[in-house]
Amino acid sequence: MKFDTAAEANPIDRMRVVGRAHPRIDGPLKTTGRAAYAYEHHDVVTNPAYGVIVGSAIGKGRIARIDLTVAERAPGVIAVVTAENAGKLGKGKHNTAKLLGGPDIDHYHQAVAVVVATTFEQATAAAALVRVEYAQAEGRFDLDEALKTAPLAKDPNSPEKQGPPESRTGDFEQAFAQAPVKLDELYTTPDQSHSMMEPHASLAAWNGEELTIWTSNQMIDWGRTDLAITLGIPKENVRFVSPYVGGGFGCKLFLRSDAVMAALGAKAAGRPVKVALPRPFVPNSTTHRPATRQRIRIGATADGNILAIAHESGSGNLPDGQPETATNQTRLLYAGANRLTSMRLAVLDLPEGNAMRAPGEAPGLMALEIAMDELAEKLGMDPVELRVRNDTQVDPEKPERPFSERNLVGCLREGAERFGWQRRNSSPGAVRDGNWLVGMGMAVAFRNNMNIPSGARVRLGQDGRVTVETDMTDIGTGSYTIIAQTAAEMMGVDIENVLVRLGDSAFPISSGSGGQFGANSSTSGVYAACVKLREAVAQRLGFNSADATFTHGQVLGGNRSAKLIDAVRDGELVAEDKIEWGGLDKSYQQSTFGAHFVEAAVDGFTGEIRVRRMLAVCAAGRILNPLTARSQVIGAMTMGVGAALMEELAVDKRRGFFVNHDLAGYEVPVHADIPHQEVIFLDEADDKVSPMKAKGVAELGICGVAAAVANAVYNATGVRVRDYPVTLDKHLNSLPAVS
């Protein structure tokens, strides 16, 4: 099914199942420990051996020599694989650095060997006995230094990273020079680690030339394709299975060393091999969100109309890596005739930077939405009003191109009302509660909607049950549930009569999970397959499919009705289709919107910051399931608090690695950090986006949160911090004196 004209009325509009707060259908499996994660497929092979990866001890250089003799002789060791004996390996399309290093080393903790032994303990002990001699080379580890000479980023080649390296509209320089009110500031965001609960893990089993991988991955087809490329085998020979994923946040979009080393280890050992990355490998051995340096300039009239806006961002990555696209939202968010955005990209020898929790917009809004707060203060204007004043219903670079739906103003107004924004004292540092300095802040949330082709197969069995198969993943988001809701709605059956099978490359290729494209794209794919299945049912039952209604296990049409199950009396029906996307995103800008409001308190003595209240109002198309959507948004808000207040990978610029590479050193919020969170979804159905009339919503939840927190902290203290995370040491010296 090609989606190239606005959706008309369709069965989803009934919202009998879709749009209802249905709890996750996979929930009981998870709470009772029966959902098998990557390392827990105990029933699929009988005799797995265990692989443990050795990671590079240097950031940049070469392996001079590897001595395996002691390791190979250690108890239980079956095989040791290194680049020397692995045979020729390719590099996956989605990988920047190769997944098995040697002799060249591209980054710290790059895998250089896997030791396979009978038990996990033996493999771990033997891995420590692999002797690697390195010839260290001078590396580029200092972003500020590298950005001094960094060129503009190259034109993008992946849909994940939209946007040209530079965009210009009107004459920014002149308009800015003449603007009566000006802001020109630098903001920084640090490297961050996804820190999902489940580290990467894979179980590999060869059957002759055929390889099956049980793994933890967001994008089945990318992983399968890249594993085949890496190993130099036909894609058809690889089966990639990932039914449950213990969090990903972008870190599991790609093939990683766990899968490659499990496959190589299993080949060498002649039996199935399991590999899990230990927690300290996650930051340096996988991907992370790159740090940014962002300069924002805004020129406005005295009454707050933006005349000129420029957002220039610099980030770094390994050679051939991508920039952090922190300027994306600035091209679309606010009105203003004169505009400039640009992205510089420095070469760094730190581990690979890549997508994490709303790449682009999350760090971009961390800067832009502080800048807007600062501008509001310069103008003596309420920060909400400044945003409302500069709302635009069209793409500001191409005014002939409207937004498909844009109710940002509704989010701002509703949020301000519900939060009690009018009680905010606009003079910073003025409100006290005992020893606490208290403030309120807000920020806009914005995230583009992306649609990805997505296929599904649906089957109406002779027992009347509907089975959906797609290689879509559920990374804790609720995919199982919303897909079941979609199929139930389309086929007119109860959700209990739908079985959803996900995360297996034996099923039709889906969008996968990422970039908040998963929910809308994958349910649209299921919608398309269900349309076909309805046609097949209608044909068997002798209905004109176009006007048949499927409801309560019945098919109704004309003046007659039949039981759905009668259609399969002589055999089950199977239909497969795929949603493909026409040009509606060219004629309409498709984005999601929200507003975040935060109350924060700062200890007047120690400078410690604690968030007290949070509210998000979102306008993001039809909400397929308010319960799972809310969970996504509160999780994202929690991550926003992490970004605001604590998350930072500390770079050792001499040794070239992220030092705080475990969960003791890399702090993420704990329960005690997260106060009452409220989420409101505005009623919306966006017919220009998909037959589901939905959009992505998850990543929207993190966008802007950190700035709302930072603005609340500023409102509390009167000390502006422009370098994330906002930790107490950054404002301590400027807080009111104590005695």
């Binding site: 120690t606 005690a672 995370p725 040491d729 005695s739």
Partner: protein
């Protein structure tokens, strides 16, 4: 993790003797610190002597009206003990500010005193670290040192002692009771228990080889306001940037030990004479010899402000 042998001890002196005579032997109590370090091969004992079977799990009154806390009393039990809550509030609060409920259920009094630093380079065996591998150098001094020590540190090591419990014990003038291989017992004042690094940061305490901790004793209760304030980047489950354990009197005098800044709980009795003058002169005296790095210089200010917070809180009571 390397292979090791394991035994359960039933008599204290035997355990100490065994530990002394067996090369590479270590005691294990709750295991919450030692096992983590063994998995990363930061500690590589060849033999473990499990002391959990020793009968050191009671909290008893001492003759002089203080408390004797058995070496194996779990942090949870110690924090919840009615006598500790009533008479030694600073200790109870310090314990509850540490780690998590699950860890405190396992962690013992002796193990807590002997927990090792959280310097991130100490935890990465690819990095030079004089504490882990004597003579290899210190990666932290010119590296990422935001969490590390500002005083009592040396050119060989700037790591801190991460214990919350020990800071409160230092304010209370606790004593550590031990038994050695020959069956000799002694009491070590907590002030003398942890060593400063000097050029041997791998030597962290004044315990001799095989010496086993049997108890920690607290002197009779100290009247006054007991406060433990722990400052950190998140609200729970994080080690202190700075912490203050205080027992303060109405007249503004008192005792005050500081955590998160030094290789041991940092207390200078003479500085307490300055307390009447307020947080500033006290902290200036306490940290007169501080040698912070650029990254952790804020801790000097933070100590002063946290002390001020504690004094303010005491005045409110």
């Amino acid at each position: 993790m390397r292979s090791f042998t394991y035994e359960r001890a039933s008599l204290a002196q035997e355990a100490a003797a065994k530990a002394q005579e067996t090369p590479g032997a270590k005691f294990i109590a709750g295991g919450t610190n030692l096992l983590d370090l063994m998995k990363l091969e930061i500690e590589t004992p060849q033999h473990l002597i499990d002391v959990n079977g020793l009968k050191f799990d009671k909290i008893e009154k001492t003759e002089d009206g203080g408390l004797r806390i058995g070496a194996l009393v779990r942090n949870t039990a110690l924090a919840a003990d009615m006598r500790v809550r009533r008479d030694y509030g600073v200790l109870s609060r310090a314990l509850l500010a540490g780690a998590s409920g699950q860890l405190r259920n396992k962690a013992t009094t002796a193990g807590n005193l002997l927990q090792r630093t959280r310097c991130p380079y100490f935890y990465d065996t690819n990095q030079p670290c004089n504490k882990r591998t004597p003579g290899s150098g210190c990666a932290a001094i010119a590296g990422y040192s935001r969490q590390l020590g500002v005083i009592g540190v040396s050119e060989a090591c700037i790591a801190t002692n991460p214990s919350d419990m020990a800071v409160a014990m230092r304010a209370l003038d606790a004593e550590v009771e031990t038994i050695d291989a020959a069956g000799r017992t002694r009491k070590i004042p907590i002030a003398d228990f942890h060593r400063l690094p000097g050029d041997r940061p791998d030597l962290e305490t004044t315990l001799s080889s095989g010496e086993l901790i049997t108890a920690v004793t607290l002197p009779p209760p100290l009247r006054g306001t007991h406060i433990y304030k722990k400052v950190r980047d998140r609200a729970s489950y994080a080690f202190a940037l700075v912490s203050v354990a205080a027992v303060l009197q109405r007249d503004g005098t008192g005792r005050l030990a500081v955590g998160g800044v030094a290789p041991k709980p940092w207390r200078i009795e003479k500085a307490e004479a300055e307390l009447r003058g307020g947080a500033k002169p006290f902290s200036a005296r306490l940290l007169a010899d501080a040698k912070p790095t650029n990254e952790n210089a804020f801790k000097v200010t933070l100590v002063e402000r946290t002390v001020a917070a504690v004094m303010h809180e005491a005045r409110q009571k």
